[in-house]
C-alpha cells in the first residue's frame, strides 16, 4: 500500500467529513470540491486517467459551480440559520444509521473473500479503446445518457426559471399613451 | 485526376438552379423567369457538349462516373451515357426550355414554378443517366413531387384531383417496381444495371431469383413491368394520363408528354428488357395485344374527345404505344431465326427516334393548344372555335406543321420513327403491323378533324378578330420545335448516328439465356 493512497484517502475523507459538519455553506461547498478533487486524484492513482479528468471537469468544473450558485441564490436569513429544534435527534439518528452502515460495510469488506487481481500488470484503457467501447458496446447507453442530460438540462431550466412571462429586460408591450385618445 | 464530371453537371445544374431560385427571395418574377430559363438551357448546352464529344463508333457507356456511395449496401453513384440516354437528354434539353417559354406568362409565383420545374427537369435527366437502381429510383420518384405541385398549384379547375390521381397511380405502380428490385437486390446483392443485365444475359439473374422460389422471377418481372407500364402508360393503365395532361398547365403538359412519358419507355429499354428477356418474351404475346390496344383504341378514343388537350393526350397514348409495340415485337422475336436482326434494328431505332419525335411534336401541339387556351379565356373545346386560320394564319401554319408531324407526314420528323417501327414490326409480327395501321388512320382522322373544326370554316365561337398575334416568346416556343421537326425529318442521321452502335449491339444479341 502506498503512502500516496493513504494521503489521498485521508484528504478526501477529511475534507468530506469537515464539509458535512461546517455551518458555512460556502466553506462546505469548497471543501467538498476539494474532496471531489481528491477522488479524482484517487482515480489518477488507480490509473483511470480519463475518468480522473472527467471527474475534474464535471465535478470541479461544473457541479461545483452549480452548487455555489445554488448557495448564493438561496441566501438565508439569520432566523433560518438557527439550529432547528429537532436537530439533535436527527443528528443522533443519522450517526446511528451511518455508524451501522459503516460497521456493516467494514465488516463485509474485511470478511469477504475478495478475489485478488490475477495479473501483475494492470489493464490500462486508452482513450481510443474507451471511445470504441462507448460507440460500440455501450452506444445505446451513451444515447440514453445524452437524452438524460438534455432532459435534465431542460428540466433544470424549467424548475429554476422564475415562471414570469417576460423576463426582466424585455420591454413590456407598448401601450399607446392616453393622450392619444384626446387628440 | 478524375474526368470532367459532365454528367453530374447535367443532372445537378437544374438542381442548383432550383436552389438558387429558392433562396433568391427578392428576385422579381421576370428575373426568376430568366434565371429558370438559363438553368434550364444548361441541359441543352451540356447535352450538345456531350453529343459533340460522344464517340458514335464505340458501344457501351461513355462519360462514366462512378463513386462509392453507401458501401454497406453496395450502392454506387454511377452515371453513364449511351446513345439512348444522349437522345433523351437532348430531348429534355429541347423540350424543357420551350415548355418554360410556353408557361412564361404564368400567373402566380414564377419563382416557385421555376424552381419546381427545374427540379423536375433534374430528376428526369437523373433517370436518363443513372446506372444504378438506387438513385435511378430516387430520381424516378423525385420527379413526381415537383410534378404534383406543378399540376396542383398551377393547373386547371380539376387539377387537384388529377394531380392526386397521377401521383397515387404512378406511385402505386412504382411500389411494385421497388419491391421487385428489393427482391433482386436480396438475390444478387447489386443494383447495377449493367451487371444485372450481364447476369440476366447469362441466365444467372433468373437463377438466383428462382432460388427463393420458382415463381419469383416472374413475380419480380411483373412488379417491374407494372411500375413502368403505368408510367408510359401501357394500355389499360393509361386512365390517369388524359386528365393529368389536360389539367396541368401548358408547360407542364409539354414536359410530361415530352419527357416524362419517355422515362417509362426508357425504363422498358434500360431495365425491363435487358433484365428479364425470357420473362418478357414469354408474355410478349399478351403485351403486343395491349400495345395494339393502346395504338388503336388510344387513337379511336381521341376521335371521341371534345377537349383538345385530352385529344392530344390520347394521341400521346397512341404514339407511345408504337414504341412499346416495337419493343414487344422485338422481344417476341427474341431467340428466333437470325434474319430478324435487321427488323429488330429497325424496330429499336424506330422506338428511340419515335421517343424523340413524339416528344417534340406532342410538346408543340400542347403548346399550340395552350396558346389557344390563353387567348380564349381557357376555352379549348373542339366545338368552341372555327376559322382560326383566317385570323391567325401564322399560328395556324405552325400548328399545322406540328399536327402533320404528329400524324407521321414524311418530310417531318414523325415519319421516320413510325416507318422504322412499322418496318421492324412487320418483319417480326406482320399481323400486328397490319392492325396498327388502323391507329395511323384514326390519328389522321382525329387530327384533321381538330384542324378542320378549329382552324377551318367560317370564324365562329370563341374565334374573334382580336385573336392576338403570336408574341416573341410564343415564337421562341414554337419555332425551335418546328425547325427541329423539319431538320430531323429531312436528316434523321443526326440522331441515328448517335444510337446506331447501340442498336447494332442490341440487334446482334437477340437470344434468350
Amino acid at each position: 500500500m502506498s503512502i500516496a493512497f493513504l494521503i489521498i484517502a485521508l484528504v478526501t475523507l477529511g475534507s468530506a467529513a469537515v464539509a458535512m459538519s461546517l455551518r458555512n455553506l460556502i466553506h462546505s461547498a469548497l471543501l467538498l470540491i476539494a474532496s471531489w478533487a481528491g477522488i479524482a486524484a484517487f482515480y489518477l492513482w488507480a490509473g483511470a486517467e480519463f475518468v480522473a479528468f472527467a471527474q475534474l471537469l464535471v465535478y470541479v468544473g461544473a457541479v461545483s459551480m452549480v452548487v455555489l450558485f445554488a448557495v448564493l441564490l438561496t441566501r438565508q436569513s439569520r432566523v433560518d440559520m438557527a439550529i432547528a429544534p429537532d436537530a439533535l435527534r436527527r443528528i443522533v439518528a443519522a450517526l446511528l444509521a451511518g455508524g451501522a452502515t459503516l460497521g456493516v460495510l467494514f465488516g463485509a469488506v474485511v470478511s469477504a473473500p475478495l478475489p485478488i487481481a490475477a495479473s501483475a500488470t494492470p489493464v490500462t484503457v486508452s482513450v481510443r479503446q474507451m471511445g470504441q467501447e462507448l460507440m460500440g458496446t455501450h452506444a445505446a447507453a451513451l444515447l440514453i445518457v445524452g437524452a438524460l442530460l438534455t432532459v435534465a438540462l431542460l428540466g433544470a431550466i424549467i424548475l429554476a426559471s422564475t415562471g414570469r412571462e417576460d423576463p426582466p429586460g424585455v420591454a413590456p408591450p407598448a401601450v399607446a399613451p392616453p393622450t392619444r385618445k384626446t387628440s | 485526376m478524375t474526368k470532367f464530371p459532365l454528367l453530374s453537371l447535367l443532372v445537378f445544374t437544374p438542381c442548383i438552379g432550383a436552389a438558387v431560385l429558392a433562396i433568391t427571395r427578392r428576385a422579381s418574377a421576370s428575373v426568376a423567369r430568366v434565371l429558370t430559363l438559363l438553368f434550364s438551357l444548361s441541359t441543352l448546352g451540356l447535352g450538345l457538349v456531350a453529343a459533340a464529344s460522344f464517340d458514335p463508333t464505340r458501344t457501351g457507356m461513355q462519360w462514366i462516373e462512378q463513386h462509392t456511395w453507401i458501401e454497406a449496401l453496395n450502392v454506387h453513384y454511377r452515371l453513364g451515357l449511351d446513345g439512348l440516354s444522349l437522345v433523351l437528354v437532348l430531348l429534355t434539353g429541347v423540350v424543357s426550355p420551350t415548355a418554360l417559354l410556353a408557361s412564361w406568362r404564368i400567373k402566380s409565383s414564377a419563382r416557385a414554378f421555376g424552381a419546381l420545374f427545374l427540379l423536375l427537369q433534374s430528376a428526369a435527366i437523373g433517370v436518363f443517366l443513372a446506372l444504378d437502381f438506387f438513385h435511378w429510383f430516387v430520381f424516378w420518384e423525385l420527379s413526381l413531387i415537383p410534378a404534383f405541385f406543378l399540376i396542383k398549384l398551377w393547373g386547371g379547375p380539376a387539377a387537384t384531383r388529377a394531380a392526386y390521381q397521377f401521383v397515387i397511380y404512378t406511385i402505386g405502380g412504382s411500389a411494385f417496381m421497388l419491391l421487385g428490385f428489393a427482391a433482386i437486390f436480396a438475390a444478387t446483392g447489386t443494383l447495377d444495371f449493367i451487371r444485372l443485365a450481364q447476369e440476366a444475359a447469362d441466365g444467372a439473374l433468373a437463377e438466383s431469383l428462382a432460388r427463393a422460389g420458382g415463381w419469383w422471377p416472374t413475380a419480380v418481372f411483373l412488379g417491374v413491368l407494372l411500375g413502368l407500364a403505368v408510367k408510359v402508360p401501357l394500355f389499360p393503365f393509361h386512365t390517369w394520363l388524359p386528365s393529368t395532361y389536360a389539367e396541368a398547365p401548358t408547360g407542364v403538359s409539354m414536359f410530361l408528354t415530352g419527357v416524362m412519358s419517355k422515362m417509362g419507355v426508357y425504363g422498358f429499354l434500360r431495365i425491363l428488357w435487358p433484365l428479364f428477356p425470357a420473362q418478357l418474351h414469354a408474355v410478349s404475346g399478351v403485351l403486343l395485344w395491349l400495345a395494339l390496344g393502346g395504338v388503336v383504341l388510344g387513337a379511336f378514343a381521341a376521335m371521341r374527345q371534345t377537349d383538345l388537350k385530352r385529344m392530344i393526350a390520347y394521341s400521346s397514348i397512341n404514339h407511345l404505344s408504337y414504341c412499346l409495340l416495337a419493343l414487344f415485337a422485338v422481344s417476341a422475336a427474341t431467340g428466333g431465326p437470325k434474319p430478324a436482326a435487321h427488323a429488330a434494328a429497325a424496330a429499336l431505332s424506330g422506338t428511340i427516334l419515335q421517343m424523340f419525335n413524339h416528344g417534340i411534336s406532342a410538346a408543340a401541339l400542347f403548346a399550340c393548344v395552350g396558346m389557344i387556351e390563353s387567348r380564349c379565356d381557357g376555352r379549348r373545346g373542339l366545338h368552341d372555335f372555327g376559322g382560326l386560320r383566317t385570323v391567325a394564319p401564322v399560328f395556324a401554319g405552325l400548328t399545322g406543321i406540328a399536327m402533320f408531324s404528329s400524324l407521321g407526314l414524311p418530310g417531318l420528323n414523325g415519319f421516320v420513327g413510325e416507318f422504322l417501327i412499322f418496318r421492324g414490326v412487320f418483319g417480326l409480327a406482320p399481323w400486328a403491323a397490319a392492325i396498327a395501321t388502323l391507329g395511323l388512320l384514326a390519328t389522321a382522322v382525329f387530327l384533321l378533324t381538330f384542324w378542320q373544326r378549329v382552324f377551318h370554316g367560317p370564324a365562329r365561337g370563341a374565334t374573334t378578330a382580336g385573336f392576338a398575334a403570336l408574341s416573341g416568346v410564343e415564337y421562341a416556343t414554337l419555332v425551335p420545335l418546328v425547325a427541329l421537326m423539319f431538320i430531323l425529318g429531312i436528316w434523321p442521321q443526326l440522331l441515328a448516328r448517335l444510337i446506331n452502335p447501340l442498336i447494332t449491339t442490341w440487334a446482334g444479341h437477340l437470344n434468350l439465356p
Binding site: 500500500m1 493512497f5 478526501t12 468530506a16 464539509a19 458535512m20 455553506l25 462546505s28 461547498a29 467538498l32 471531489w36 477522488i39 484517487f42 482515480y43 488507480a46 483511470a48 480519463f50 475518468v51 472527467a54 471527474q55 464535471v58 465535478y59 457541479v63 452549480v66 445554488a70 441564490l73 438561496t74 433560518d80 429537532d86 436527527r90 443519522a94 450517526l95 444509521a97 451511518g98 455508524g99 452502515t101 459503516l102 460495510l105 467494514f106 469488506v109 474485511v110 475478495l114 487481481a117 490475477a118 489493464v123 484503457v125 479503446q129 474507451m130 467501447e133 462507448l134 445518457v145 438524460l148 442530460l149 432532459v151 435534465a152 438540462l153 428540466g155 433544470a156 424548475l159 429554476a160 | -
Partner: protein, 105 residues
C-alpha cells in the same frame, strides 16, 4: 491483519459513503443533503474503479465505462437537484428539507 489494496480501496469508499450518508441524514439544509448524496455516488464510483483496477477483470473497460456513465448521471442529478432546491427556496423562502412536505399523501 493485512489488507489487500482492493480491500483498502473498498474501506475508503465505504467510509466516504458513510460520511455522505451521515451528512445527508443529519443536515437540514437541502443543498447539503444533495451534496451528501453526491458523495455517496462518488463512493460507489470509487468501488467501480477499485474493482476494475484490482479485481479480476473480464472486460477491461467495464468499470471505467460505468464510472463515466455514472458521472454523467450524477451531473444530471446535481443539476436537477439544485434546480429543485432553488424552486423550493422560491416557494418557502428557505431550504429546510423537513419543511418541504407539501407533497405528502
Amino acid at each position: 491483519m493485512s489488507l489487500s489494496p482492493l480491500q483498502l480501496c473498498l474501506l475508503f469508499s465505504s467510509a466516504l459513503f458513510c460520511v455522505g450518508l451521515i451528512g445527508a441524514l443529519a443536515r437540514s439544509n437541502t443543498i447539503l443533503v444533495l451534496l451528501g448524496v453526491e458523495l455517496m455516488l462518488n463512493a460507489a464510483n470509487i468501488n467501480f474503479i477499485a474493482f476494475w483496477r484490482f479485481g479480476p477483470a473480464p472486460s477491461p473497460a467495464t468499470g471505467v465505462m460505468f464510472v463515466v456513465f455514472s458521472i454523467a448521471v450524477a451531473a444530471a442529478e446535481a443539476a436537477v437537484g439544485l434546480a429543485l432546491v432553488i424552486a423550493i427556496y422560491r416557494h418557502q423562502k428557505n431550504i429546510r428539507l423537513q419543511e418541504a412536505v407539501r407533497l405528502k399523501g
